[in-house]
């Protein structure tokens, strides 16, 4: 745990759900500034819902998210690839340049300097030379590299990634993990929803394990224990999909201060 560092994001008794049915229950704690945290849990545990809640896409059923020294608009959020139009008539450079939205806004043109930044971001993710390629012709791995280049250009203090390495080969995953570590070393706060526990153990110092509620949250070594994983699975299997928001105001399980 990195409690000595200032919080970038704090969750206060956060409960999120759809149509009044909670999907994430009473999560409290904080993500320290500059931390690199994996969000893990069984399928349907509410990991993606938590990220959407942090971004403000879902109105909390209870509790709230507190952003310190940044706003959700300044964050970089990468949803699962399935939510994108893969055959849209755009080039790789055009998609990456979208990361400059905060500078360009609705109508400002792309200057030579900014175009250079696009090229640099493409080089970092290993797509140099593909700037003019149509995105429809990219492989799954190349497409994800392109989206990481867009994240780099967003220059965001907080980065949220939803299953960024799903359906991607080993080489691409390793390359993008290196990009992620570079962003982490630059002092950015990174949260990534992941499924591969071994990958989490190797690359992510901190982990939030959830199964509709916090199971464990802290250093990865202390969080990903057999007992915690078993408890997460049990909680998930016992969950009642139709349950209404409960009256509890405090989490039952371990929560970060």
């Amino acid at each position: 745990m990195t409690t000595d560092r200032a919080a970038a994001l704090s969750l206060h008794d956060l409960t999120l759900g759809y149509e009044r049915h909670p999907a994430v229950h009473h999560v409290s704690g904080h993500f320290a500034t500059g931390s690199l945290t994996a969000v893990v849990g069984p399928n349907g545990a509410g990991k993606s819902t938590l990220l959407k809640g942090i971004m403000g896409f879902l109105r909390p059923l209870a509790g709230h998210v507190e952003w310190h020294n940044a706003t959700p608009r300044q964050a970089a959020y990468l949803p699962q690839q399935a939510e994108l139009e893969r055959d849209f008539p755009m080039t790789v450079a055009e998609v990456v340049a979208l990361g400059l939205w905060r500078i360009l806004g609705i109508w400002r043109p792309l200057t030579t300097t900014l175009h250079q930044r696009v090229q640099e971001a493409l080089s970092i993710v290993g797509l140099a030379g593909l700037a003019r390629r149509e995105i429809g012709s990219l492989s799954g791995g190349q497409f994800q590299r392109m989206l990481f280049a867009r994240v780099i250009l967003q220059d965001a203090p907080v980065i949220l990634l939803d299953e960024p390495f799903t359906a991607i080969d080993h080489r691409t995953t390793e390359d993008l993990l290196a990009v992620l570590e570079r962003l982490h070393q630059e002092g950015r706060t990174v949260l990534a929803v992941l499924h591969d526990f071994e990958l989490v153990r190797r690359h992510f110092p901190e982990t939030l394990l959830i199964a509709r509620e916090t199971v464990a949250w802290g250093s990865t070594a202390e969080t990903l224990t057999p007992a915690a994983l078993e408890r997460a699975q049990a909680l998930q299997e016992a969950w009642n999909e139709q349950a209404h928001v409960c009256g509890r105001t405090l989490p039952r399980t371990q929560a970060r201060p």
């Binding site: 970089a76 939510e83 139009e85 008539p89 755009m90 979208l98 905060r102 109508w107 149509e134």
Partner: protein, 290 residues
């Protein structure tokens, strides 16, 4: 009959043909690029829905002022925007998705429109609204079409970037900016405005043809957004010109003749377009198997 007599003489000889061509080119200038964005947003059928949705407003305008272009246009605009707003609010506040809420509201709107027309008008009036009178465009109608045509491309250029992001990655736009709903509403207003303008010339149903057929054709030929818009404009202009000639020589109703011409260009493209046409894909498959 010489080529000149067949293709140019009708426009030289008859002012109603020149006015019809000008009106159609105005409609094409606004409708074609809008069709491209509708297609890319997977909202190809939205134009059709909205063309029905404007009917009750047109009917109210007709009941109040007869065949008055400003009143018909105003009525259509109000009805179209009301349906777009109601569908948008329903989508954002209920479980119904955009296609379902739009379908529901346009059907209600269409039913109200047909009933209103039947209260005072007759079938001829209804046909006039549905299929337009491009060969009888007066000055006020041309002025309206010209105004809409002059306004639409600059407006689209202004909202181009967020509109493109909303089509490609709406979640990204939602994350970085709150302008998404506003851009969406401006775009819907442009759709309605162009359909209202289009019904003067081609009728509510046929105007959608000049919106979507060139866009679908352009998707088969062009690889970039700019290219798609360029091709769709060319196709819409060509369909207007040759459709009017077809209407003149074969004594066919002009709106359907223009849309049919655009349809023929689409069918040809489906077969012949390089890389994305049927023949090209068939040849590529055979080549790979061989």
């Amino acid at each position: 009959m010489t080529l000149r007599e067949a293709t140019i003489q009708p426009f030289v000889e008859f002012s109603f043909m020149r006015r019809a061509l000008l009106g159609c080119l105005f409609v094409a200038l606004g409708c074609a690029p809008i069709g491209v964005f509708l297609l890319l947003r997977r909202m190809s059928l939205m134009g059709d829905a909205m063309s029905h949705a404007i009917l009750p407003g047109v009917a109210v305008g007709f009941l109040l002022a007869g065949m008055s272009v400003p009143m018909l246009s105003l009525g259509g605009l109000v009805a179209g925007l009301a349906v777009a707003l109601a569908a948008g609010m329903t989508t954002r506040t209920t479980i119904l998705r955009e296609d379902a809420s739009l379908a529901a509201f346009y059907l209600i709107s269409l039913a109200v429109g047909v009933i209103l027309v039947s209260l005072k008008g007759n079938n001829v009036d209804l046909l006039h609204v549905l299929f337009g009178t491009v060969l009888a465009l007066d000055d006020s109608a041309l002025l309206l079409l010209g105004g809409i045509a002059a306004m639409t491309p600059p407006m689209l250029m202004f909202i181009r970037r967020p509109l493109v992001i909303e089509c490609f990655d709406p979640t990204f736009l939602r994350a970085v900016s709150g302008c998404g709903p506003w851009v969406h509403m401006v775009f819907l207003a442009l759709v309605v405005l162009n359909l209202v303008g289009g019904f003067q010339a081609l009728g509510t149903l046929m105007a959608v043809g000049l919106m979507m057929l060139p866009a679908a054709t352009a998707r088969l030929w062009a690889r970039t957004l700019g290219g798609m818009i360029g091709v769709s404009l060319l196709i819409a202009f060509a369909a207007s010109y040759f459709g009017l000639l077809l209407s003149y020589h074969a004594t066919l109703p002009s709106g359907p003749a223009i849309v049919l011409t655009a349809g023929v260009l689409l069918l040809l493209s489906i077969f012949l377009a390089p890389h994305r046409g049927m023949l090209s894909r068939h040849w590529l498959r055979s080549h790979l198997e061989g």
